[in-house]
Subunit: 147 residues, 2 copies
DNA sequence: GGCAACTGGTTGCATCGTCGAACCATCTGG
DNA sequence: CCAGATGGTTCGACGATGCAACCAGTTGCC
């Protein structure tokens, strides 16, 4: 029954999250999240592909939480860049398997490097004694959001 | 020189943030962040206006971290809905002062209600003893991002 | 076998959201 | 009084997403 705005006030949390979203630049389509000449959503897809080597298109959609139509176009852009190859899925005439081309591997590598660089810079901007708390807080948040 | 991945590893931070972004659903254009029939960016603007009563357009742009052209159009949409009024800024012939109309106040009220509801739900999903830490961490993050 | 229901993909249409550049009007400082 | 900064608008381009309609292949069931 405290009248002071404390840790049980939703407004506090809302304010804090809103500030973060804006500061992180999530409002901008961010042509180059890390200085690389590549759109955000393509970067996400590239990351998934680099990690798994091969992916069914439908699986990519699931991971990125996008509709199949969006992903279809996304993959179209990536193949147009020569970064991804579509192949018929073995055992299912409908499906498509995606794989990075050598050029795509390179792009993914550059991207990963740039990303590491970016977060490295961010990390040093966080006072050392706060870092553990920040990481922990993010995990807590994700857990709360997943419910 | 520690080989363990600890609080000085950028990958940790990257991973944590990526997880948060996806869990928070920031990838989706989120037509109705809280079930209200209103686009996200308009909602943000509405929130700022509701809080301050009156705002210079340039100030709104600064807060939302958007360019003046984007904000100009955004405000155009809001006035088209009858939620915002443009008035010449007193003392500066160039400027524009924005104010919510009664109808805009209502819309902002509904929105605030829905948002409060949403964050309230999120808040209860965060263990009580973590709440202060989460809030603090978000502030630290914003500060680091601003550098 | 054959037919209905489902699933993976593609394409067309609509909407949202942002930026940069060009342009105009209005301050502001020598 | 003029040059440069500042606030706004408009235009053109791009990125990103969804839904609906459609096609093709798969599956389940009678």
């Amino acid at each position: 029954m405290s009248s002071e705005r404390g840790t049980d006030d939703p407004a506090e949390l809302q304010e804090a999250l809103r500030g973060f979203v804006r500061a992180f630049g999530l409002h901008q389509p961010e042509k180059t999240p890390c200085g690389q000449p590549i759109p955000v959503s393509e970067a996400h897809a590239l990351g998934e592909l680099a990690q798994d080597g091969e992916l069914r298109q439908v699986e990519l959609a699931r991971r990125l939480r996008l509709t199949k139509s969006t992903v279809s176009r996304l993959v179209g852009q990536l193949t147009a860049r020569g970064w991804v190859e579509r192949a018929p899925a073995p055992g299912d005439g409908r499906g498509v398997v995606l794989r990075l081309t050598p050029s795509g591997e390179r792009a993914a590598g550059n991207l990963a490097e740039a990303r590491r660089e970016k977060f490295s810079r961010l990390l040093v901007s966080i006072p050392e004694h706060e870092r553990e708390g920040v990481l922990h807080a993010l995990h807590v948040l994700v857990e709360a959001l997943d419910e």
